[in-house]
C-alpha cells in the first residue's frame, strides 16, 4: 500500500502531464503483479469493489470520532476519504499492507463486512496510506489522472501504441496479467470482447480570422449539438455505448441499446429528444446521473442519437474512406434505423464563410452551440489532428453583474470563497440571477477571496453575504426561463469572464437586458 500511496501523492501534487506519466510509469514498472494491475484498474475506473458506500464509511468513522467534530472536519477538508484518513485515530502499529490482498479480500467479502474490514486496515496504516485505501475502496480516485493518461503511461512501458491498447481495453479485466505480459514483450492478448471501443476523432477550435485562410468548398458543415459525444457499437449481439474516452455507459441508456439492431460502429451525439424537439442539456444530465434509470425517467427523458459518422458497417472498416463517402454510407444506414432513436445530423448549405457565420449567429434551436466543419476528403483518424475537423463555437453572451454572496469551495478550492452568486438591478433592488465558480485565475481567486473576507455583511454557515461593491463580467452560453429561480431566469454555464475592480456598482446591467435575451415563450 505504501508504494501506491506514494504514487497517489505524486499524482496529486505534480502539475505536469509528463511528470505524472513518469510517476505512473515508474510505479507500473516496479510494482509486482497482481498489485499493479489492481492499481491500474483503480486509476482507470475499472476496479469493481463497490463495497464502501459513503454511508458505510460515515458509520465506520462515527464509531470512532464524534459526529459533530467529524462534520466540522469534513466541511473544512471537503473530501470524505481525506477527512476520514486524517481524523482516524490509529490503534495499531503501521505496516506496509499488501494492496492486492486487500483488493481480493474486499472482492470476496460479503458487503456487510466491508466497514469492519476497512476499519481494521485503517488501524494499521499511516495517514497517506489510509487515504489511498479509502480512495481505492470508494472507487472515486479523482487524483488528477484520467483513464486515458493511465493508458498512455502503460503504452510507454513497451512497444504497443496507445490506440492498440485502447482497442483491446474492453476485452481485458483486472489485474491485467496478459496485458502487462504483452507490453513487456510477450504475446498479444486475443481481443475476445465483442463491440470494442475505437478511439474517436476530435476537432480543434477555430475563429473567423483563421477561417479566412481555408477554402469553404473543401468543408462540409453541420450544427454542433449540445449533448455528449457517443460511439454506438453493435457486434453480433453485443451492444455498447461508449463515451468519447471509451467509458462504457450502455447501462444508463437501455432505451437506445434496445434499438441498436445493426452491425457496426456509429459516431454521434447523445441527446434527450422528444419527437423533433431536442431537450436542453440539463435533461440529458439527469439521464447521465442515473446508472439504471427507472421507467418514469425513460418516458419523461427519452434518449436519442443524432449521428454524424460511421466507422464500421456490416463488417467493413470505413475509417480510411473520405468523409464525403462515409457520410453517404451513413445516410443509407440511418434510413433503416428507428427514427425515434436515431436520426442524422443535417448538413448546412453554405457557399462562403459569411453564409455560415449568418447561420451560426441564428441557429434554429437553443441546444446548438456552434457549427462543426469537416473536410470532405478527411479520413477518420484517432485523436485531435489539426486541420480536418474544426469547431466554431457560438460567442458567449455577457452581462455585468454584482457579487452578492460567496460560498466556500470544496475539493481543490476548499477554504477559499470561490462560488459566487451574482445579481443585476431590478429597479433599485439587486436580484440574484446566477452562480459562477470558474473563469478566474488562481491569483484572481485569491483576490476575490480577500475581497469576500473584507466585505462580509453576514455569515450563514459556509455562505457569506457581501457588501454590493464588486462588478463582474459574466459570460454564459444561453438563457432559459425558470420557475425555480426567483428571477425567472436560468443561465447556462455562467462563468466570470472578467473582474471589474474599477466599475461602479450602479453601472451593472438591469434585468430587462437579460429578459430581452430570452428565447421566445
Amino acid at each position: 500500500m505504501r508504494a501506491f500511496a506514494q504514487l497517489l501523492e505524486r499524482l496529486a501534487f505534480t502539475p505536469g502531464r509528463n511528470a505524472k506519466l513518469a510517476a505512473l510509469g515508474a510505479y507500473l514498472r516496479t510494482a509486482p503483479d497482481p498489485e499493479r494491475g489492481y492499481a491500474l484498474a483503480a486509476l482507470t475506473g475499472d476496479l469493481e469493489l463497490g463495497r464502501a458506500q459513503p454511508a458505510v464509511l460515515r458509520a465506520m468513522v462515527g464509531a470512532r470520532v464524534d459526529p459533530e467534530l467529524f462534520a466540522l472536519s469534513y466541511d473544512f477538508v471537503g473530501d470524505l476519504a481525506e477527512t476520514i484518513a486524517l481524523v482516524w485515530p490509529m490503534a495499531g502499529t503501521p505496516e506496509d499492507l499488501d494492496l492486492a490482498q486487500i483488493v481480493e479480500t474486499l472482492q470476496a467479502a460479503p458487503k456487510a463486512r466491508a466497514g469492519e474490514l476497512i476499519a481494521g486496515w485503517l488501524d494499521r496504516l499511516e495517514a497517506s496510506e489510509r487515504y489511498a485505501l479509502l480512495k481505492l475502496a470508494t472507487g472515486g480516485l479523482r487524483v488528477g489522472v484520467s483513464a486515458r493518461l493511465a493508458r498512455v503511461a502503460l503504452s510507454q512501458l513497451g512497444a504497443p501504441e496507445i490506440a492498440e491498447i485502447e482497442e483491446l481495453w474492453h476485452g481485458l479485466a483486472p489485474p491485467y496479467l496478459n496485458l502487462f505480459s504483452w507490453i513487456e514483450g510477450g504475446e498479444k492478448p486475443v481481443n475476445a470482447a465483442r463491440a470494442p471501443f475505437r478511439p474517436v476523432m476530435l476537432s480543434t477550435p477555430i475563429d473567423a480570422e483563421a477561417l479566412a485562410q481555408i477554402e469553404p468548398s473543401d468543408y462540409a458543415a453541420e450544427w454542433k449539438w449540445d449533448g455528449i459525444r457517443i460511439q454506438a457499437v453493435s457486434d453480433e449481439g453485443t451492444r455498447r455505448l461508449y463515451s468519447r474516452t471509451g467509458e462504457d455507459i450502455s447501462q444508463s441508456f437501455p432505451d437506445i441499446v434496445a434499438h441498436m439492431a445493426f452491425e457496426g460502429a456509429l459516431d454521434g451525439e447523445l441527446l434527450v429528444r422528444r419527437g423533433a424537439d431536442v431537450a436542453p442539456f440539463g435533461d440529458l444530465q439527469k439521464r447521465l446521473g442515473r446508472k439504471s434509470p427507472g421507467r418514469a425517467m425513460l418516458q419523461s427523458h427519452p434518449a436519442a442519437l443524432r449521428l454524424y459518422d460511421v466507422m464500421i458497417w456490416e463488417g467493413e472498416d470505413l475509417r480510411a474512406l473520405p468523409y464525403a463517402q462515409r457520410r453517404a454510407r451513413l445516410e443509407r444506414a440511418v434510413a433503416d434505423l428507428p427514427p425515434e432513436r436515431f436520426d442524422l445530423s443535417p448538413q448546412l448549405s453554405f457557399r462562403s464563410w459569411d453564409d455560415l457565420a449568418a447561420l451560426r449567429a441564428d441557429p434554429p434551436e437553443t441546444v446548438i452551440e456552434g457549427v462543426m466543419l469537416k473536410r470532405r476528403d478527411s479520413a477518420y483518424v484517432a485523436g485531435r489532428p489539426r486541420g480536418p475537423w474544426y469547431k466554431w463555437k457560438r460567442d458567449p453572451m455577457v452581462i455585468d453583474a454584482v457579487l452578492l454572496y460567496a460560498q466556500r469551495g470544496h475539493g481543490k478550492r476548499s477554504g477559499f470563497y470561490s462560488d459566487f452568486t451574482f445579481a443585476v438591478w431590478d429597479g433599485a433592488q439587486l436580484v440574484p440571477v446566477g452562480k459562477a465558480y470558474s473563469g478566474f485565475t488562481d491569483e484572481e481567486l485569491r483576490r476575490l477571496d480577500r475581497f469576500v473576507r473584507h466585505n462580509t455583511i453576514e455569515r450563514f454557515g459556509p455562505v457569506r453575504s457581501l457588501k454590493p461593491e464588486l462588478v463582474v463580467e459574466v459570460a454564459f452560453e444561453g438563457l432559459n426561463r425558470s420557475t425555480r429561480h426567483k428571477s425567472g431566469l436560468a443561465m447556462r454555464f455562467p462563468r466570470i469572464a472578467r473582474i471589474r475592480w474599477d466599475k461602479p456598482v450602479a453601472e451593472a446591467d438591469r434585468i430587462d437586458t437579460l429578459r430581452d435575451l430570452l428565447p421566445p415563450a
Binding site: A12, F13, T14, P15, V65, D66, E68, L69, F70, L72, S73, F76, V77, G78, D79, E82, T83, L86, V87, A127, H410, G411, K412, R413, S414, G415, F416, D442, E443, L445, R453
Partner: protein, 333 residues
C-alpha cells in the same frame, strides 16, 4: 460582581483594571504584545510592553518609531490594579504568554503557541490559571502535525532525486523560515542555504541572538548563476512566488512549509508540488492536551476553528466561550 479582568472589544482584548490591551488590532494607548507576527504586533500604539526580542522584531519590521514608548519586560510588574507576568509560548523567537492576575483571578492570554522543541525559541511553559485564552488555528481533529524531521527528510530526498531543479521553500519571514533552516541543519544539511531578501534582517537577528543557522546566502544571483545551481534550497516568503524574482530559477520545485499543507486542496490551490507540514502552532492533540494539562476553570478561544474546540469542550464538560475577536489572520501560518 467583580469587574471582568479582560473584555473582548472590537479593537482587541482590553483589561479595565490595568487600562491596557493585549495584541490589539488597532492603535491603542497601551498595548501588551505576545509576539512579533504582524496580526498580533501592529505599529502605532502609544506604548508597547513586550519581551526585548519582540520589541526588536517590531523595530526591524516597522522601523524604530513603531510606538510612542516602549518597555522591555524584565520580570513581574504591576499595571494599575493587576499583576502581569510573561511566560514563554514556544511559538517564535521572543513569543510569550501574558498572565494577568487581579482580585484572586488569573487569566493567561497565550497568543499563538507551540509545544514542540525548536532551537529558535524557549519552550512553552504551562501556567496554572483560572481562564486560559487559546488560539484555535489548527483546532480540528484532522490536524495532527507529523514529525517535522520526517518532512525535512522528504525535502532532502526530493533535492537528491531532482538535483537540477532548485527547491523553493515558502516560509514566513518570522519564525517559520528560521525553523526550517534550523531543521535542515539538524538533519545534517550543511551546504549554503539561499534566502530571499525579505528574510535577511530577521535571519540576521536570529543569528545575533545566538541561534545558529549556518551558511546563509542572499538569493539574488542572476539567471546564469541560478541555472548553474545544483541541489539548491532557497527559502522565500510565499508571496515571493508570485513575483518576478522567481523567474531566475528554471523549473523550480515549489514547496511550502505550513500546517495548512496537511490539507491536499490547500497545497494544490497554491500550486505547491512538495507540501511540507511544518507548523509553529499546536495541532489538535497538542491543543487539547495543553488545555487538559493546564485545566483552567474556563477556556476562551480567540481565533481559528472555534466551533470544533467549543464542541470538544462540551464533550469534556469544560466551560468555553469564543471571543469573536477580529483582525487576526485566518491563515497566520
Amino acid at each position: 460582581m467583580a469587574q471582568p479582568l479582560l473584555i473582548p472589544r472590537p479593537e482587541g482584548l482590553y483589561c479595565p483594571l490595568g487600562d491596557f490591551h493585549i495584541d490589539p488590532s488597532r492603535p491603542v494607548a497601551r498595548a501588551l504584545i505576545t509576539h512579533g507576527h504582524a496580526d498580533h504586533a501592529r505599529a502605532g500604539h502609544g506604548a508597547v510592553l513586550a519581551t526585548r526580542q519582540t520589541l526588536d522584531i517590531m523595530a526591524i519590521r516597522y522601523g524604530a518609531e513603531f510606538t510612542g514608548q516602549r518597555q522591555v519586560y524584565e520580570g513581574p510588574l504591576r499595571i494599575g490594579q493587576t499583576e502581569v507576568r510573561f511566560h514563554p509560548a514556544g511559538h517564535v523567537l521572543g513569543s510569550a504568554q501574558i498572565a494577568v492576575t487581579a482580585q484572586g483571578t488569573r487569566i493567561v492570554a497565550s497568543g499563538d503557541y507551540a509545544r514542540r522543541a525548536t532551537p529558535s525559541c524557549a519552550p512553552f511553559e504551562p501556567v496554572a490559571c483560572d481562564i486560559f485564552i487559546t488560539e484555535a488555528t489548527f483546532a480540528l481533529p484532522v490536524f495532527r502535525h507529523p514529525d517535522p524531521r520526517v518532512e525535512i527528510a522528504k525535502l532532502l530526498a526530493s533535492v537528491k532525486s531532482e538535483p537540477e531543479r532548485p527547491h523553493l521553500v515558502g516560509a514566513y519571514a518570522l519564525g517559520k523560515a528560521q525553523r526550517v533552516i534550523a531543521l535542515l541543519r539538524a538533519a545534517g544539511y550543511d551546504a549554503p542555504i539561499y534566502i530571499h531578501g525579505a528574510l535577511q534582517a530577521l535571519c540576521d537577528y536570529h543569528i545575533a541572538q545566538g541561534i545558529a543557522l549556518g551558511d546563509l546566502r542572499p538569493a539574488t544571483m542572476d539567471k546564469t548563476e541560478a541555472r548553474a545551481l545544483r541541489e539548491a534550497i532557497v527559502i522565500a516568503p510565499p508571496s515571493a512566488f508570485g513575483s518576478a524574482w522567481v523567474q531566475r530559477f528554471s523549473d523550480p520545485v515549489i514547496s511550502f512549509a505550513s500546517g495548512w499543507m496537511q490539507i491536499r486542496a490547500r497545497a494544490r490551490q497554491r500550486g505547491v508540488e512538495l507540501p511540507l507540514v511544518i507548523s509553529d502552532h499546536v495541532d489538535w492533540d497538542e491543543l487539547t492536551s495543553t488545555v487538559e494539562e493546564i485545566d483552567p476553570a474556563e477556556l476562551w478561544i480567540t481565533h481559528g476553528r472555534e466551533e470544533a474546540l467549543m464542541r470538544w469542550a462540551a464533550l469534556h464538560q469544560r466551560v468555553a466561550r469564543p471571543l469573536g475577536l477580529v483582525g487576526y489572520e485566518e491563515e497566520p501560518e
